[in-house]
């Protein structure tokens, strides 16, 4: 990894702001479900906040994102408005998809959030198409596909990286390696230590990075995105992280050895980064606390908004299946 990309103070703070929003939103979501305010399948991303935050500060609204069921962090970082998001996961008419998509299929084109998929691996082939479109239009916008470590073993991964390499597409493939795919430990199903080594199979750069280190992750993201913008083709980033909760809300995650979980949680990137910003005088405790309070307030407001939004009427059931013929 190159050292050419170092986030300045404001950028570091911008990353923190995103991380705070993501972390608090995850906590609020789990609370909303456990207290019965919401019914939804929730794939907690707590512990993985750094990756999308570091990506997002390098992205524009016109850059594209294809993410997955465990992707609310990706979307929030990319700019999905909280109200639209909460109304959607609450199944309401003011949701970004009028409640028809739900937590696994949030879409928000105004911020480039084009596809959220529940099928492992499927974010990648479509991200290629978005990148190809941008390339054809002569833009220097890029397309980001995020996915998990488990997804690196499915056929769509291979086909997508190969096509992106051959067509030199402006796509950044971001593997959020949280060491588990559902209940399965990484090494049980993957025969190599680093997924980033698979980049060589396509002749593209592979970056292995600590996805819980905002500065390192920033550099990786910036490098890959710059390469894509410059027309130099795709990059595979493997960002190492950890998922602090079960696969889906309600999963007690008994398959994660206690010690492994404890070690990971002890290294929680959020408090670590928070302390670092203060230690490096990039922010004061009070400033960060204010950011957090602000996030909290915004989220509460969004929840209230969502729960007051009407459910979609039955006329929505079979509409939006086909468009109006030209």
């Amino acid at each position: 990894m190159t050292n050419a990309y170092i986030p300045d103070g404001p950028t570091q703070l911008a990353m923190f702001r995103k991380m705070a929003l993501l972390k608090i939103n995850d906590e609020k979501t789990r609370r909303a479900i456990s207290t019965g305010r919401l019914v939804m399948s929730f794939y907690s991303y707590r512990g993985q906040e750094v990756i999308p935050s570091a990506l997002a500060v390098n992205l524009r609204d016109t850059d594209y994102l294809c993410t997955i069921y465990r992707g609310i962090h990706d979307m929030l970082a990319k700019g999905m408005p909280l109200k639209d998001l909460w109304a959607e996961v609450a199944g309401r008419m003011d949701g970004t998809c009028k409640g028809k998509g739900g937590p696994m299929h949030l879409t928000y084109p105004a911020k480039g959030i084009m596809v959220t998929t529940g099928i492992v691996g499927s974010s990648m082939p479509i991200a290629n198409g978005l990148g190809w479109g941008a390339q054809l239009q002569g833009r220097d916008d890029v397309s980001v596909a995020t996915f998990g470590d488990g997804a690196a073993n499915i056929g769509a991964f291979h086909e997508s990286l190969n096509l992106a390499a051959v067509w030199k597409l402006p796509v950044v493939f971001v593997c959020q390696n949280n060491r588990y795919s559902e209940h399965t430990a990484y090494s049980t199903v993957t025969p190599i230590e680093r997924i980033s080594d698979r980049a060589a199979a396509y002749g593209i750069p592979g970056i292995h990075v600590d996805g819980n280190d905002p500065v390192a992750m920033y550099a990786a993201a910036a490098e890959a995105i710059a390469r894509a913008r410059a027309g130099e083709g795709p990059t595979l980033i493997e960002a190492i992280t950890f998922r602090f909760n079960g696969h889906v809300f309600g999963d007690p995650a008994g398959y994660i050895p206690k010690e492994e979980l404890q070690t990971a949680m002890a290294a929680d990137p959020y408090p670590r980064y928070r302390a670092k910003l203060i230690a490096e005088s990039l922010a004061t405790e009070a400033e960060l606390a204010e950011i957090e309070a602000d996030c909290e307030a915004q989220i509460e407001e969004a929840i209230a908004f969502a729960l007051n939004s009407p459910f979609p009427g039955l006329e929505e059931l079979s509409s939006d299946v086909y468009g109006a013929a030209a």
Partner: protein, 330 residues
């Protein structure tokens, strides 16, 4: 399993797999998270198998549905009876080639020299707010594929008996499990019980209308009985259990008696399984029907997330009753 207290469908499926593996060394189980180190399946259907029979006979896989199906097919060609889990029915789409172009066809294309005695288990069904890519019933794709069999149990005993029969069967059998129905309780199946593939169950006898259903909708049809009785109509509820092949004989005998047939399924109506049943019934009982064969499937849209819409998407008891009553009362 003890005979005296009720068990869930998950228990019944687990017992069927356990008994099959105990009875026959060639029975294998593979799929994502099926091993005990991974919790014995995401809802516990395969719990205990890897511990009892060994990691080599019950093995968790990478997220590689084509590789899962290929492993099952290859092993089946040389004498094994693999049960492969494709977690959700929608994910059959990523392994479609292995299923329809290979598993279903190798016997025929080899002129009968080889065969593919595999079982493919998957769960599905709307009702748990899992949205457009985790809820579909697409049994029609496989029922339309020569070489495939398709079954969909709705009770504990059928869950056990159909899994056992599917494992015995010399050809690929797709077993559809209904996720919202996993916790439903029923009698503990007798060890060794078999439900013949292709045989329907009559859940309730009646004289005015035959309701043909399966999986969750069979339970909904049964739940609709009181409302129908109250409205003064007598419905015969047939739970198909097998979709390919389906029990034409039982359906035709019933409709010959009632003169009316309502087919109910959670798959979308157009080009759905109900069309086949309607086509056969109107042909075989031409001139003997009191009403056209009617179909009540899901509306022609992906499964919506929002509870209000999802509820309206599924053919439920109240609306089944309404439709049946309308058919009889005109």
């Amino acid at each position: 399993m003890s005979q005296d207290k009720p068990v869930t469908i998950v228990n019944a499926l687990n017992a069927a797999l356990t008994d099959a593996m105990a009875d026959d060394d060639t029975v294998l189980v593979i799929g994502e998270d099926v091993g005990d180190p991974e919790g014995g399946g995401v809802v516990g259907v395969t719990a205990g198998l890897s511990t009892r029979f060994g990691d080599h006979r019950c093995r968790s896989t990478p997220i590689s549905e084509q590789a899962i199906m290929g492993a099952a097919i290859g092993a089946s060609l040389i004498g094994f009876k693999p049960v492969a889990e494709i977690m959700l029915m929608n994910f059959t789409a990523v392994a479609m080639d292995m299923i329809v172009n290979h598993a279903a066809k190798l016997r025929y294309m080899s002129g009968g020299q080889t065969s593919v005695p595999i079982v493919i288990r998957c769960m599905t069904g709307a009702g748990l707010s899992t949205g457009g890519q985790h809820s579909d019933f697409v049994e029609a794709w496989f029922a339309h594929t020569a070489g495939m069999k398709v079954v969909a149990p709705s009770t504990t005993e059928d869950a056990y008996g159909l899994i056992r029969s599917a494992i015995d069967d010399p050809d690929p059998v797709l077993v559809i499990e209904n996720t919202p129905n996993y916790g439903a309780k029923g009698p503990a199946p007798v060890a060794g019980h078999r439900v013949p593939i292709g045989k329907a169950a009559i859940r309730s006898e009646g004289s005015d209308v035959t309701i043909v259903a399966y999986s969750r909708t069979a339970m909904e049809a049964v739940a609709a009985l009181p409302a129908m009785t109250e409205a003064g109509i007598s419905a015969e509820v047939i739970d198909l259990r097998s979709i390919q092949p389906w029990d034409e004989e039982a359906v035709l005998a019933s409709v010959a008696k009632t003169g009316r047939c309502l087919v109910v399924h959670e798959a979308v109506t157009p080009f759905g399984p109900g069309a086949e049943i309607a086509a056969v019934v109107q042909e075989r009982l031409f001139g003997k029907l009191k009403a056209p064969v009617m179909r009540f499937g899901a509306p022609f849209n992906p499964v919506p997330f929002s509870k209000s819409l999802e509820d309206a998407h599924i053919p439920k008891a109240a609306r089944i009753a309404e439709r049946a009553i309308a058919m009889v009362k005109g």
